[in-house]
């Protein structure tokens, strides 16, 4: 990787471009700064997948607040939590849990579904 970057830099030795690269690195480093803010104060909502069904299938959360969604998959097969409106997508392996952060959301309904069993695994988040 470093060699590749060096190879790249060999060509891009002009100052402006190196500056751009630095900007990129700073941009990528930004997440690390953000981790300092702990998520303990965020409200946690628990959700369960059993038999390819979300339980509860309707989750009420406070509007305009960031929420930590903990999803337990009680099935032996994996499921993918997905929501187009929330822009969230995550594979949850069988018999395990996953953490997804959502919000802050304006009041409204946000449907989500299990990508692997979309006919049955359906639900929505209601921000109010």
């Amino acid at each position: 990787m470093i060699n590749l970057l060096k190879a790249g830099k060999g060509i891009l030795s002009s100052g402006r471009i190196t500056g751009c690269l630095w900007l990129l690195i700073i941009l990528l480093g930004f997440p690390l700064l953000n981790t300092c803010t702990s998520d303990t104060d965020k409200p946690t909502v628990k959700l369960e997948i059993r038999n390819h069904l979300f339980n509860p299938s309707e989750v009420a959360i406070p509007a305009d607040t960031e929420v930590k969604l903990v999803i337990y998959n009680r099935d032996s097969s994996p499921e993918e939590f997905e929501s187009y409106l929330l822009n969230r997508k995550k594979v949850i392996m069988g018999n395990s849990k996953a953490v997804i952060f959502i919000g802050p959301l304006p009041a409204g309904e946000y449907p989500f579904f299990g990508e692997f069993h979309p006919k049955t695994a359906q639900g929505k988040i209601i921000a109010q």
């Binding site: 059993r50 038999n51 390819h52 069904l53 339980n55 299938s57 006919k119 049955t120 359906q122």
Partner: protein, 447 residues
């Protein structure tokens, strides 16, 4: 594009796949939707059936129902009258007419709520969604599967069809490939496809032009050689006369220039003769008269005729082998033998040995001339057939005049007889061995 065939296969298959798969998906979706509508109608029929059922307005009744379907009958005042065994005591869904998706007892259900004003009953029936979808899936899959299975067949067919379509191109390539370097006859125009016709025509036009120019060159050279013959003969005569005149004046010593002149004229005469032989023996133009002849006897004749060359160089010549008969042109084979013998004599040192043999090996008749000269390195084997090519340039130690056309003439004559020339090491340990291999050819193949 590396291969037209692969390009066509991939692009055609991709287009077929894309169109078919997308339409298959549409078909699938429609089939599933149709099946769902059918199931919904069945659900409605079940609800109406229940509505007509006489229900005692007393205690709650529990009836057995087939698996994967539940029902509840509620009175006007929201009291549960009848329910199936699997149904909960709570309302399956809220009391609003219509279809709805609900979750209970660990499954997702499609429910229908109906209100019948005749008897004021609310009827809720529900079917398991996953089973409905599985059933619909099964129906729809049956429609999609053939498309998927047909694809490999389509691929195979495209492969063959494209191969067939390109076969005339391949044939053209083969026809061009199998053409000998000197064969400038036009390609057979045996009805090539429209697209290839211009290619064949252009190639043929090119070949015709090329042949015409070759023919011009050949004729010019032959004519030039022929025209040179007379003046050279005249010079030879004059040089001879000059020599006699010198001798007549009583001078003992003939000037060195005169000797050199005679030598040069002799070489020039030889060159012209060789050139004429070369053009005369061009396989495409030589008017061959094939007859059955004894190669061994012919070799003996030529050897006897050419014996003075060997005697002059004190070389020992032997003729081995027995009578072998081939169909050949006597005149051409004489030229061939002469050239081979001249070459052997030329490169064999004074008092060296030369071996000529005619043998029958299996079906082939071999004429071999071996000398005890320095030989030729193997990398030179292909070059020595080039016209005017001489190993080490012009400065080889030989008193016999040479011009580098001998082996070209031999090659012409060998080809005329459909024979192959093989070069190798001679059995003397050093020196060259030239073998002319006359393969047994069917009569009709040699025209």
């Amino acid at each position: 594009m590396k291969s037209i065939r692969i390009f066509l296969l991939i692009t055609l298959l991709s287009i077929i796949m894309l169109v078919n798969f997308v339409s298959a998906l549409h078909g699938y979706r429609d089939t599933v939707a149709e099946a769902q509508r059918l199931f919904d109608r069945q659900l409605g029929a079940s609800a109406r059936l229940l509505a007509d059922m006489p229900v005692a307005s007393g205690a709650e009744r529990v009836v057995a129902q087939p698996e994967a379907m539940v029902m509840q009958v509620w009175s006007e005042d929201k009291k549960l009258l009848v329910r199936s065994a699997d149904a909960p005591v709570k309302p399956l869904s809220e009391f609003a007419v219509g279809f709805k998706e609900i979750n209970f007892s660990g499954y997702r259900w499609r429910s229908l709520t109906e209100y019948f004003p005749d008897n004021g009953h609310w009827i809720i029936v529900a079917e398991r969604s996953d089973l409905r979808y599985q059933l619909a899936d099964k129906l729809a899959i049956a429609a999609v599967l053939p498309i998927l299975l047909g694809l490999p067949v389509a691929g195979l067919l495209i492969w063959f069809v494209v191969g067939r379509g390109l076969s005339s191109l391949r044939k053209l390539a083969e026809a061009l490939h199998s053409k000998r370097a000197e064969d400038l006859t036009p390609l057979p125009e045996c009805s090539p496809p429209e697209e290839l016709l211009p290619v064949v025509q252009s190639i043929n036009a090119l070949l015709t032009r090329l042949q015409a120019s070759f023919e011009r060159e050949r004729r010019f050279s032959a004519d030039a050689a022929h025209e040179l013959r007379t003046p050279i003969a005249a010079i030879q005569v004059h040089a001879h006369n000059l020599e006699s005149e010198f001798k007549g004046t009583g001078q003992k010593l003939i000037p060195a220039s005169l000797v050199k002149l005679e030598d040069s004229v002799h070489r020039m005469a030889h060159l012209v003769e060789q050139m004429l032989d070369l053009f005369r023996t061009t396989p495409e133009h030589y008017p061959a008269r094939f007859e059955m002849l004894n190669l061994h006897a012919l070799a003996r004749e030529v050897l006897a005729e050419e014996y003075p060359i060997f005697a002059q160089r004190k070389q020992q010549v032997e003729l081995l082998g027995g009578r072998v008969f081939i169909r050949g042109d006597r005149f051409a084979l004489t030229i061939l033998l002469k050239n081979l013998l001249h070459n052997a004599a030329k490169y064999t040192p004074v008092a060296g040995r030369i071996k000529v043999s005619t043998t029958l090996v299996k079906e082939d008749i071999l004429l071999r001339v071996e000398d005890s000269g320095p030989g030729i390195p193997e990398e030179e084997y292909t070059r020595i057939f080039e016209r005017f090519y001489r190993i080490g340039g012009d400065r080889h130690q030989s008193t016999v005049p040479g011009c580098g056309l001998g082996l070209s003439i031999v090659q012409h004559i060998a080809r005329l007889h459909g024979a192959i020339i093989e070069l190798g090491q001679s059995s003397f340990g050093h020196g060259l061995s030239v073998t002319i291999r006359f393969t047994k050819v069917k009569e009709d193949e040699r025209d």
